[in-house]
């Protein structure tokens, strides 16, 4: 194996090095905050250098596969993690450094991200499974990071049990697929798969495992509790990074390996998409806690993503990846505001946000942009993301599904407006007082705002993704 072929896994190698450096720094450094700044700095360099273009290629006898699209998705995940690190700096400084847990926090995030890389770059189901586990286990530790808090510990247990169950289910599905084809390699399996009840059962079990990661209905039960219990940085990580990576690998497997089952896939996606949108939206209506609220909203958003998967061509892939890109910025903007407020005041309920605009106008505006983007209102990016997903579904003639999806958009608008109502319309006797966030939080929010404003209006972004979207 030559050096050049090693460069194909640039992302993985650099991240591993950073991870080890943080470990060494943790051992030798007394000031833990500096370790965090160094880690963030190194990760920033990694994120920036990640944008150097990458060729397509295979490694390890086609177990590992990368191309421009996967490279782009990894970059998006990097940007997301970078924003999360920036937004978490205050939290780490105030809550984690005194308990000497700051470096673990960073290392676990990096380890999980490494798992995501391997998962989306897998060319083989075993590699896929390894990546899935590597990404899930550190998250379980992170969710339960505030061990002294009961909710956090409970969330951690819930997550690890259900994640284990889900990956077990997925693995069982893979074993059935192996039984019917005799291979675990994506490319070979694609050629060998035929319509048999064994292979279809295998596919459905496999799908169930992934559906857990994306929190599709009926595998969504963990979402709200885990989102609520976990530290906010981790909640945002779960809702964007974890979901984004899982959607990407699902797209790849559906469009390359499982093409034989196209009809089954369409029926399955149709039903799951409808159930996910309706249940996510209807449950979101009554939430009082902002994290739970965004948990259900993110379930509903996953339902919208499935509409893009209905089109099994370049259009479908590009709209899905485009939506994920937008979603990373949008959701991180929303979670960033929640994080900032929670850190300064400890308040996380929608009630507490009443009259926020009159004391903290800037944070309120960021929140408004994020919510409008989630609701799909122009000119912010979320509108374009959703419109294109719907276009993808309509291109295959699924007008009824699109219609039901837009009904859901209207339902979702209602609860996003409830937050807007609390922040802008109402006045509070006891509002959240004016406060200033730290510099890193400000930068983190600023990046998300720029993303939310520009990714939609600036059309070359979509064109770029479309050109990459070849599998």
């Amino acid at each position: 194996m030559s050096t050049e072929s090693f460069l194909l896994m640039r992302h993985e190698i650099i991240l591993t090095v950073i991870l080890l450096l943080v470990l060494v720094a943790e051992i030798f450094s007394k000031n833990k905050m500096i370790v965090f700044y160094v880690a963030t700095g190194l990760f920033l360099v990694h994120t920036v250098t990640g944008f150097i273009p990458q060729q397509e290629g295979f490694l390890f006898g086609k177990m590992y596969h990368t191309n421009e699209l996967l490279h782009f998705v990894k970059n998006v995940l990097n940007v997301g993690v970078l924003i999360i690190l920036l937004q978490s700096s205050g939290y780490i400084k105030e809550k984690l450094v005194p308990g000497h847990k700051s470096s673990e926090f960073v290392m676990l995030i990096f380890a999980s991200l490494l798992g995501m890389y391997f998962m989306i770059s897998s060319g083989n189901f075993l590699m896929f499974y390894m990546g899935l586990e590597l990404s899930a286990l550190p998250i379980a530790a992170l969710v339960a990071f505030e061990t002294m808090k009961r909710r956090s510990a409970e969330a951690g247990i819930k997550f690890i049990l259900l994640a284990a169950l889900a990956s077990g289910t997925s693995l069982f599905g893979v074993s059935l697929l192996y039984a019917s084809t005799g291979t675990v390699y994506f490319q070979e399996m694609a050629a060998l798969l035929s319509y048999s009840s064994l292979s279809i059962t295998g596919f459905i079990f496999f799908f169930a495992g992934i559906a857990f990661k994306i929190s599709l209905v009926p595998f969504h039960f963990w979402t709200a509790d885990v989102y609520e219990g976990a530290p906010i940085g981790i909640t945002s990580y779960l809702s964007v990074i974890s979901k984004g990576a899982a959607v990407t690998i699902l797209t790849i497997i559906l469009f390359t390996v499982m093409q034989t089952f196209q009809e089954v896939i369409h029926i399955l996606l149709y039903i799951v998409a409808l159930a996910t949108m309706f249940i996510g939206n209807l449950f979101a209506l009554r939430q009082k806690n902002m994290k739970r609220f965004l948990a259900f909203s993110s379930i509903a958003q996953a339902g919208f993503i499935l509409l893009g998967l209905m089109a099994n061509d370049q259009l479908g892939i590009s709209t899905v990846v485009y939506f994920i890109t937008i979603y990373v910025f949008t959701n991180l903007a929303a979670f960033g505001v929640i994080q900032a407020i929670s850190l300064k005041t400890g308040k996380e309920d929608m009630e507490d946000y009443t009259g926020l605009y009159r004391t903290n106008p800037r944070l309120s505006l960021v929140m408004m942009l994020a919510l409008f983007s989630l609701a799909g209102i122009p000119p912010v990016a979320g509108f374009f993301g959703k419109f294109f997903l719907f276009t993808a579904a309509a291109s295959k003639g699924y007008y009824l599904l699109v219609f039901l999806a837009v009904v859901n958009v209207t339902i979702s608008l209602y609860y996003y407006l409830l937050v807007i109502r609390a922040i802008f319309l109402r006045k509070s006797e006891n509002p959240i007082p004016f406060f200033k966030s730290d510099l890193m939080m400000k930068i983190g929010l600023l990046i998300t705002v720029i993303g939310v404003l520009l990714i939609g209006l600036y059309s070359p972004v979509y064109q770029y993704i479309f050109d990459l979207s070849k599998l």
Partner: protein
Amino acid sequence: MDILTLFLIVPVITILVLFFAKNLQQARVIALIGMFVQFLMSFHLVYAYFQERKTNQDLMVFQRDFVWFEQFNIHYIIGVDGISVAMIVLSSIVVLAGVFISWKMEELPKEFFISLIVLATGVFGFFISLDLFTMFVFYEIAVIPMYLLIGIWGSGPKEYSAMKLTLMLMGASAVLLVGILGIYFNSNADGGALTFNILEIAKVNIPVEAQKLFFPLTFIGFAVLGALFPFHTWSPDGHASAPTAVSMLHAGVLMKLGGYGVFRVAMYLLPEGSMLWANFFIVLAVIGVFYGALAAIHQTDLKYINAYSSVSHLGMVLFALLMLNKTAWTGAILQSLSHGFMTALFFALIGMIYERTHTRDVKKLGGLLKVIPFISVMYVIAGLASLGLPGFSGFMAEMQIFVGAFQHPDMFHRIATIITVSAIVITAVYILRVVGMMLMGPVKNEEYNTLPQATWYEKTGVLLLLIPITFMGVVPFWITEMVRESIQPFIERLL
């Protein structure tokens, strides 16, 4: 810089500058300057339009075309014909008058003017777009600020009304979205590329089956904004709770997007669909006209009276559009314009009365003509224009609608027309009743004797709206010509 894009750039710059405003004084001056420039530009546009028309016989003039999302063939295409020019003039006048009327907006003034101008940006963008996607984007931009405008600065059950209005209009836009996608994916029926360009799609023969399916979606999507019965319920509540300037913009401009969209998109692109569905929607439109007028009689709140009267008048616009002939369509466009100025004037006056007396209940008011003569006289004039008195804009609009409607010889259309005509009588009832109770007679409340007179900014706002009403009534030929000429190519699509 091309002349149409300026209509978007000026408001956007105004909004950006407004972010730096520190108090009411600065905010209103900035808003006024921005919208005054817009106002002058709209008159320059009329002049430029007539100059251009002499040499250019295209359907749309001042066209510009920029590729936006290449993959979907989404372009930023703009262009205007006589109808859009008239609508732009209407919008710029109403917005300017709205700024004058909001001169004393004490609460969060900067945010108020920003939201108001965002709404205006959406409206202008909608009227100049020739691309379904761009049009849809502007439609939503125009609707969403209403939530904040009503919710923050409104009165009464404002949160409820704001939510109802936003959800109903956004729900409508959701239906519209499916319609637009349906049109888009059928725009290659003749073998060309998929496109959102209205002018291109008009050249394609979309299969009748698809037209039948997507016409009602597109029609309803737009017509909800034009208060189509039974989807009109957002409108009275929204009007009643909104602050004065917002009611003006809402009834005067925003609701016009509905009729304009029906005409420009649903009927132009899906002609066979519109012929198939016309009778069904005529029934709804007639119910709207009649029901709106009857409901107005029973109201005692001035704003509700006007809101229901808007439902009735805009029902007439939809009714005229569904008649599918040139005379009726000219009437429909003129009715849109006339109603825009008239209702804006009404709401401005109601706002002034409310600000002085702190009530909008007709029963509690009385004898205002003696106390605040300027406002009262204007109210009478607006009322007379509204009930279609010759010499004002309403008369020539309604006249053409009914002449057009009577060109259909069959029984169904005759009956529909007769019912609609009779609604005019009811209009006279509720207008004159209000004038009688509120303006004439003895002064009911001692405190009313000391009511302040109209201030300079109020008078300016009112006159801005009154002049076009009389102008359209007395010298209608220019505007009628401009509109009729532009309707010709649209009517040809139907034959």
